[in-house]
């Protein structure tokens, strides 16, 4: 078992954003969290990666409770996140952005070239733009860069926050294909998505989050066929 979240509570000021959520992500899985906006999906990911403090509850990773570990140390443990809105460093080149992914690694010099090659293999577009400033990339390319940069940290668990947001249909399909590819290399993935259709197709298991609570947990394929889920998250008119 890789990652287990037990009875997590998180507050924004006085507002409780996460109200006792428990989630399990097993090694090698793609688990997706779906839910409406404001349900607390992004807060979940930020809390797991350490950007938000935990009010109560546990985040157990590799058998250890990491809920008090600061964000930058969680990267060392193997948790990496491609944040919502991509969060690339606009003034750094693509290469520098990717190198930042190696910031914490002890033998970063030895790993650097190898991992860069891996990322370029997944995202050939990035290789074409190594010396271009991150801020000048298109939305899709920035998403690629964000995921590539996260991969540079050699994560055990990769947290993806809305990778399809604001992307054109073609690019969305592309990104999801790559997510599956990354998973096949042995990286566990926790995916937060608005695009439930795509997410459920790619994931092994799924949780449905509503206003800070888990309302449903099931195999992703089951949810795809669940009429209530179809009604609420997939829409009858989905193509």
């Amino acid at each position: 078992m890789r990652l287990e979240i037990k009875d997590l509570h998180v507050h924004y000021g006085k507002i409780e954003a996460i109200k006792g959520v428990s989630v399990v992500v097993n090694e090698g899985e793609i688990v997706t969290l779906i839910g409406a906006n404001g349900a607390g999906k992004t807060t979940m990911l930020k809390t797991i990666s350490g950007l938000r403090p935990v009010t109560s509850g546990q985040i157990i990773f590799d058998g250890k409770d990491i809920s008090k570990v600061p964000a930058h140390e969680r990267v060392d443990l193997g948790i990496s996140q491609a944040p919502e809105g991509r969060g690339i460093f606009p003034g750094m080149t693509v290469l520098e952005n990717l190198e930042m992914g190696k910031f914490h690694r002890k033998n970063r010099k030895a790993e650097m070239q190898e991992d860069l090659e891996k990322v370029y293999h997944l995202f050939p577009r990035l290789k074409e733009r190594v010396s271009q400033a991150g801020g000048t990339l298109s939305g899709g390319e920035q998403q690629m860069l964000a995921i590539g940069r996260a991969l540079m940290t050699r994560p055990k668990v990769l947290l993806l926050d809305e990778p399809s947001m604001g992307l054109a249909p073609q690019m969305i399909a592309n990104i999801f294909r790559i997510i599956t590819e990354i998973n096949k290399t042995g990286v566990t993935i926790l995916l937060v998505e608005q695009n439930a259709q795509q997410a459920l197709q790619r994931a092994h298991r799924a949780y449905i989050l509503e206003t800070g609570n888990i309302v449903k947990e099931a195999k992703a394929s089951d949810l795809l066929d669940d009429p209530a889920v179809r009604e609420a998250y997939l829409g009858t008119g989905a193509h």
Binding site: N37, G38, S138, A196, Q197, Y233, G235, A238
Partner: protein, 261 residues
């Protein structure tokens, strides 16, 4: 369904360059009174740039933007709004510390005349306009269906309500043309269906709508016409069913259909 009338907005050969980058390249675009026109295209195609040129955020490098017989070029942003163009934002930009009602009232102020002195001394006109604004704003909130939130601070509203409030605020300026920038972003399919109904309702109430959206099902459902941009150039402009099957559009934007399933 509202009748489609004369041309309300016309972009004639509009080019927009940022430094060396051409964001829009000789775009021609017409929006007719009473229609819902959808603007689609891949990321970075220049859709939001079109909005920014129309609303005066950017001044186009060349070309003419004509709105309702007036050339938009030297107008300040607030003047463009006063002429009858209102917009929403891709990433919600409400005034969070104001209530929903105040957000809309602030927008309704655009056509009012009373100024500082009136406000200070509570002159009759100022009082009357205050009352009118309040009433009009409530009306709009009811029209959009979020009047129960009128006294809530915008920042505390649920996401979906915030998106709708953006539309309500735009309507507050009594526009002829409403520009909606990805109004369904972050919505689940069920919410999208509801939104589509709202947009239709807005159009049926006499507003003209120009909208940017990624969700094809939404677009196909409500728009009268679809314009597709790619790399700052218009590659298609037709009714939805035609555009959907245009090979150039499929190549540039939609991708091979149903690859996912």
């Amino acid at each position: 369904m509202a009748k489609i009338g004369k041309t309300l907005l016309k972009l004639d050969n509009v080019t927009m360059k940022f430094g060396g980058v051409t964001a829009l390249n000789g775009v021609n675009l017409e929006v007719k009174e009473g229609e819902i026109l959808a603007l689609i295209g891949p990321n970075g195609a220049g859709k939001t740039t079109v909005f920014n040129v129309i609303t005066g955020v950017y001044k186009q490098t060349s070309g003419i933007v004509n709105f309702d017989g007036i050339s938009l070029g030297n107008q300040k942003r607030y003047q463009v709004t006063a002429l009858g163009v209102a917009r929403t934002f891709q990433n919600i930009r409400l005034w969070g510390d104001m209530t929903a009602l105040e957000n809309v009232i602030t927008a309704t102020d655009v056509h009012k005349k009373s100024g500082l002195v009136g406000a200070l001394f509570g002159l009759p006109r100022a009082r009357r306009e205050e009352a009118e604004n309040r009433e009009r704003a409530m009306e709009i909130l009811r029209f959009i269906g979020i009047d129960e939130y009128s006294d809530r601070l915008a920042k505390n509203l649920p996401y979906g309500v915030q998106r709708r409030l953006e539309i309500a605020r735009a309507l507050g300026t009594s526009p002829k043309l409403v520009l909606l920038d990805e109004p369904a972003a972050g919505f689940n399919p069920a919410e999208k269906v509801e939104l589509a109904a709202t947009i239709k309702k807005v159009r049926d109430a006499g507003y003209t709508v120009l909208l940017i959206e990624h969700d094809m099902s939404l677009i196909m459902g409500i728009s009268d016409r679809v314009v597709v941009l790619d790399f700052g150039t218009k590659i298609a402009d037709d009714i939805p069913s035609v555009v959907q099957n245009d090979p150039r559009v499929i190549e540039a934007y939609l991708g091979v259909p149903a690859d996912a399933s």
